[in-house]
Amino acid sequence: MMFKEYLLFAVSSVRHRQRRSWLTILGIFIGIAAVVGLISVSQGLNNAVSAQFQMIGTDVITIIPGRIGAGMGIGSAPLVDKDVKVIEGVRGVDVVAPVLARMTKATFSGEDVYTYAMGVPPDKIDKVMFSTQGIHIIEGRITPPSEKYGAVIGYSVTDDLFKHDVHVGGKLEIAGKSFKVTGRLSRVGNRQDDTQIYIQLDTAREIFDEPTKISTLMVKVKESSDPEAVAKDIKDKLKKSRGEEDFTVMTAQQLQETVQSVLGIIQVVLIGIAAISLLVGGVGIMNTMYTSVQERTRQIGIMKAIGATNEDIQLIFMVESGLLGLIGGAIGCTLGILLALGVEYGAAQAGFSALKASVTPELILLALGFSFVVGILSGTLPARNAAKMNPVDALRYE
């Protein structure tokens, strides 16, 4: 018997038991849809994160108080102006910008929202924050140092953060003080960055009553210098100056690696959960095949009587279970892709437009192959049972 005939026979048997076949296929395609959806979304997330870091550029070093992994930021001394001076003295450092970030209340036309206000020295903001992230002013200009209560708004502050149209030249209230909007930035692609408001560092210190504290130090490295080497020097100098290593120096690359390792763990956990559902789907196929073998005991007897060998019977049932798996896989892939596109759409609606679901041909082939193998494996034992049946007993079976 040739493969084509097994396949046609399987198609006809599957169609003959439509409802049960669909339920079995359902068990598989939920698992496959989950796997395909999760992998393509998490891969897309990974790509988006990489792209964001790519935008930051590799020549930016970030210093935050506290040590990652050791009670980060809790109880550790804040970064201060003295640290800026120390870092400016490191070879290879181009610009150091102290940043004071605060979650604060902003009001426009009577509408209150909460967002991050970033206090950054106006003469350094473009070099350290904007141009390194690949964003620029699309309207208006960067707040000049003379304009104490001037603010640059992120792309999504208007129409998204606020329901109203916050236009350049308009008045915005931050922490109870009135600010004039001087410029608007281009889109970064994630909502948190795009809803930030940038003001002058000195003004921020005044309105938040934090005369010395610095949340983050942003350092731009000279083009000729190696960021990793500069980061190491900064760490050494700062440690000597502060007396202990109660801060973290991160290059863009390290930051990326840290974030991606976290994403990787999440990915593994999610795929693990999806794999369990796939396993359950496989058990479903096995169950259906056992029932199918039992139901068709008589048919097996007939086929043996008219010349089917044990191998023929075994293959007939395995092809059938493989087919169930494969159909489940195909539907699962389709649903998984739709799921991923749905997540992508949802993310874009929520302001995270940088997330693009990553559906690769490899992923599809892998999912289809895997579902086929699950089908075949689940069908092996029932098929062996069928093949071993005694034809006389099988024919007598009612």
């Binding site: 018997m1 040739m2 005939e5 026979f9 006809s12 048997s13 169609r15 003959h16 008589r298 048919q299 007897g301 007939i302 086929m303 043996k304 009587a305 008219i306 010349g307 089917a308 060998t309 044990n310 191998e311 023929d312 034809p391 006389v392 024919l395």
Partner: protein, 253 residues
């Protein structure tokens, strides 16, 4: 026990049973279905196996068809000792040399008539084109040209049994084994089925073995084998000569 009469002296023995015994477990009881049966079936012969239910006639039938393996004794098909055959070899022998017709028709429900008839040829590796041509030819000969693409559920019992006959002849076997072929049919349809079998027997000189408890059906046979309690009681020719006209007229006595 008297052997077959002289008309078979120059004819080839197709199937030979030599003191065949068959024991099987029915729950905790061991049942002796065949207690040393010896029998020869000649090529081209029409044999009827008769006996009450529980007499072992179905077991005898399954043994003759190489579906069941004897517990003791030997079974020879065309002189070959089948006890030396593997399961796969037996399957191939059945597919090629033996055609089965069952009381319950036993068609595959999800296949159409033509697919059912083609199935034994599939197992023999006959190319698709040849299979379908042969299946169609057989079905047309049996008057089923309008039922080629019907599934068993869409056909009457008589039609289903004719499909089963076509299937039994698919691989042009040496012997047809029919187990109560008319048992599920009304007498008119049953007679029709028997005359189909009879015609094929005459035209192609096919060996046909029919298991039945219906004396009318047995009337078609040239040789009658009576079995009771797993033993052959009588084994005789229905008549000293071929009595085809008698067979044909059996329905009206």
């Amino acid at each position: 026990m008297p052997e077959h009469a002289s008309k078979h002296e120059h004819t080839e023995v197709l199937i030979r049973l030599d003191k065949v015994r068959k024991t099987y477990a029915l729950g905790k009881v061991m049942v002796q279905a065949l207690r040393g049966v010896s029998l020869q079936v000649y090529r081209g012969e029409f044999v009827a196996i008769m006996g009450p239910s529980g007499s072992g006639k179905s077991t005898l039938m399954n043994t003759l068809g190489a579906l069941d393996v004897p517990t003791g004794g030997k079974l020879y098909f065309e002189g070959k000792d089948l006890s030396k055959f593997s399961e796969s070899e037996l399957a191939r022998l059945r597919g090629k040399k033996i055609g089965f017709i069952f009381q319950q028709f036993n068609l595959i429900p999800n296949l159409t008539a033509i697919e059912n008839v083609a199935l034994p040829m599939v197992f023999q590796g006959v190319p698709e084109k040849d299979r379908l041509a042969r299946a169609k030819k057989l079905l047309v000969e049996l008057g089923l040209e309008k039922r080629l693409n019907h599934r068993p559920m869409e056909m009457s019992g008589g039609e289903q049994q004719r499909v089963a006959i076509a299937r039994a002849f698919a691989n042009n076997p040496d012997v047809i084994l029919a187990d109560e072929p008319t048992g599920n049919l009304d007498s008119k349809t049953g007679k029709q089925i028997m005359s189909f079998l009879w015609e094929l027997h005459l035209r192609e000189n096919k060996t046909i073995i029919v298991v039945t408890h219906d004396p009318t059906i047995a009337g078609y046979a040239e040789t009658l084998v009576n079995i009771r309690d797993g033993e052959i009681m009588h084994n005789h020719q229905a008549s000293s000569q071929y009595l085809w006209p008698k067979a044909r007229g059996v329905g009206k006595k």
